[in-house]
């Protein structure tokens, strides 16, 4: 099986063959012969010539191909794709839109406490835009860059979910 992984912006080619507890793998030209045990759902104990790697794979909720892998104390966030399968676009939510606008995205579920600006306001990077409360902490969401507030999708007292776009700055 061949897969492509995107990690830290770089693409890696992974080839894999598994026979029971043996795995032969090539990552970007490096070859490995490993023993593997699945210790529980999503947890893979890999041993590479004596070196032990306990890997725990977690899918992030919305996107099934985007996974986080915990190895020892490190976490790797990556996206897998199977070149053999046809796939649609990535559809990235949040961050910078394709048109150069910047979006303010709710990082967690919570409640809007205050909206500090109005649509049309000119703001500077670092200016407070919206205050969100979760777990008793109020967090001021700041403008990621200079610009003009073009949209506000949040009202005081409203409940928001992680990933909701709260405001757009152009």
């Amino acid at each position: 099986m061949k897969l492509t992984a995107e990690l830290d912006g770089a693409e890696q080619q992974i080839e894999l063959r598994r026979e029971g507890e043996r795995v032969w793998a090539r990552v970007d030209g490096r070859s490995y012969e490993l023993s593997v045990r699945e210790t529980e759902a999503g947890a893979y104990l890999l041993i590479d010539d004596g070196r032990v790697y306990e890997c725990r794979v977690e899918s992030t909720h919305a996107q099934p191909d985007a996974v986080q892998v915990h190895v020892r104390t490190q976490t790797y966030a990556l996206t897998l794709s199977d070149p053999k399968r046809l796939r649609g676009g990535h559809g990235g939510a949040g961050g910078h839109g394709v048109d150069g606008s910047a979006q303010i995205v709710a990082p967690m579920p919570g409640k809007i406490v205050r909206v500090l600006v109005e649509v049309g306001a000119a703001v500077k990077a670092g200016d407070g835009i919206i205050v969100v409360e979760a777990m008793k902490m109020q967090n001021e969401m700041k403008a990621p860059r200079d610009g003009v507030v073009s949209e506000i999708h949040a009202a005081s007292g409203a409940t928001v979910n992680a990933g909701d776009i709260l405001a757009t700055i152009e």
Partner: protein
């Protein structure tokens, strides 16, 4: 001896108090909100009573619901833990009026010490040194502007009713005052039901050191030494230790005596903490406030003195004498505690609620983990995101750090972000290891960290490849096998349960 105690709290502190109850063969009674129906503190209790909806103002902060529960259960006493109603004098009064023992000081002592402005007055009268600041809540923004200008910036805004960093804001210059003032008032209102804030001159490079005191109803009042709590983010402690790396017996003695003076001034009973700012250069100390309750960081004092503070609270509440005198108290070794929060350290410590999919809690020599969650638990958006307090003891500070580092590496929490990666870096930080602590530590640490990030990048290619291979194995597993699908179905069920919890009372 009490037969039953109701714990008016949740999470790790409720679990901690239940353990002390069990030690004393006292039956623990829980209260819970709708978000906590299957929380660990409910599962470990003998009895549990639903007291309202998920938001704490509709449950854990509702005095009448807690009183109803205690009367229904037949418990003879209430332990308030910390946070919620722990420093609410009206609650202590309501408990007393219901004929129930409140495990804590008198409402009068809470009134005097509960408001920081009144506490300052008490300290000044008792001859305990204080930081320059207002003794009254600010009346208006104009009052705040005037006072700040008078002390000179930087100044600190603090909630009169507060604690735990909530409603607290450092203001560097006049520009930031209005927003900080409003946010602090609004946070204070949300957290404590009281919007009053006051102003203090901000002391630069201060150490935050506090003294644990304990008093009984027979006139004994003893201090259990200090805790260094200088490592704070957003004015909230994240790492605490006992003793302070300063470890100066004469300073401990002077601060301990001052703390006992403050406690005696309000006829204090039970466990309390007197907080001081200590100048790292002059070793002068200033009274900040007194917390009339157990502290989050009580385990480090327990590990070093061997005294079980919660057990002692319960014994004192039923009229026992303190089980130790000042001379009995010995400080042995060194203990450090990390507050493990469900927060994302890579994203400005944003809360990271969600389902805990995996949990490996460290153990072994010198390690104590006081947790409030289990695997599959849901960390809710409604409450403080602390999931556990991890403490390490060693014969000296170096050994305690060795063990803490090991335990942090062993700790694994899946499904949510935690502050564990952040602590793993701190215990390897040279300034931390050297004990050069003050409240600016985290800011400086973050600067060092940003500088070091590049070097780590290329770290371990093989380990990264293993992560990729594990991900690929997982991907291929999911393509086939009914068993794998079964696991997925199970996860979906959890996820749905999680979403339902997030929707709250729906």
């Amino acid at each position: 001896m009490f037969k039953k105690i109701l714990i008016a709290n949740r999470g790790e502190i409720a679990v901690r108090i239940m353990r002390a109850c069990r030690d004393l063969s006292i039956s623990p009674v829980a209260v819970y909100s709708e978000a906590d129906r299957d929380a660990l503190h409910v599962r470990l209790a003998d009895e549990a009573y639903l007291i309202g909806a998920a938001p704490s103002v509709e449950s854990y902060l509702l005095i009448e619901r807690v009183i109803e529960a205690v009367l229904k259960s037949g418990a003879e006493a209430i332990h308030p833990g910390y946070g919620f109603l722990a420093e609410n004098a009206s609650f202590a009064r309501a408990v007393k009026e219901a004929g129930i023992t409140f495990i804590g000081p008198t409402a009068e002592a809470m009134d005097l010490m509960g408001s920081k402005t009144s506490a300052r007055r008490v300290a000044i009268e008792a001859g305990v040194p204080v930081v320059p600041g207002t003794t009254e809540p600010l009346e208006s923004f104009a009052d705040a502007q005037e006072t700040a200008a008078q002390f000179g910036y930087p100044v600190m805004l603090k909630a009169s009713a507060g604690g735990g960093g909530k409603g607290m804001r450092l203001v560097e210059s006049a520009d930031g005052l209005r927003s900080a003032f409003e946010t602090a008032q609004s946070e204070a209102q949300a957290a404590f039901g009281n919007p009053e804030v006051y102003l203090e001159k901000a002391v630069e490079r201060p150490r935050h050191i506090e003294i644990q005191i304990f008093a009984d109803t027979h006139g004994n009042c003893v201090h259990l030494g200090e805790r260094e709590c200088s490592i704070q983010r957003r004015h909230q402690k994240v790492i605490e230790e006992c003793p302070s790396p300063i470890d100066e017996p004469s300073l401990r003695e002077r601060m301990g005596a001052a703390a006992v003076l403050a406690a005696r001034a309000v006829d204090y009973v039970g466990a309390g903490t007197v907080e001081f700012l200590v100048s790292d250069t002059t070793r002068d100390f200033y009274f900040l406030e007194m917390n009339t309750r157990l502290q989050v960081e009580h385990p480090v004092t327990e590990l070093v003195t061997g005294i079980d503070l919660v057990r002692e609270q319960i014994m004192v509440a039923q009229g026992a004498q303190l089980s130790f005198t000042q001379d009995d108290v010995r400080w042995s070794g060194h203990a450090i505690e990390c507050r493990v929060y469900a927060e994302d350290p890579d994203n400005n410590f944003m809360p990271s609620p969600g389902r805990i999919t995996q949990l490996r809690v460290p153990a072994g020599p010198g390690i104590r983990d006081d947790g409030g969650v289990s695997a599959n638990a849901e960390v809710s958006i409604y409450y403080d995101p602390m999931i556990s307090k991890l403490a390490a003891w060693g014969r000296d500070r170096a050994e305690a750090i060795d063990r803490l580092r090991r335990a942090l590496d062993e700790y694994a929490v899946g499904g949510i972000k935690t502050t564990l990666p952040f602590f793993r870096e701190i215990v390897r930080d040279e300034e931390f290891i050297a004990g050069r602590l003050d409240t600016g530590f985290i800011a400086r640490f973050n600067e060092r960290r940003a500088g070091a990030a590049q070097a780590d990048e290329a770290a371990d290619e093989t380990q990264r490849d293993m992560a990729l291979i594990a991900a690929a194995l997982h991907y291929s597993e999911r393509q086939k096998a009914p068993v794998a699908q079964a696991a997925t179905a199970e996860q979906s069920k959890w996820r749905m349960a999680g979403r339902a919890a997030l929707r709250g009372r729906s």
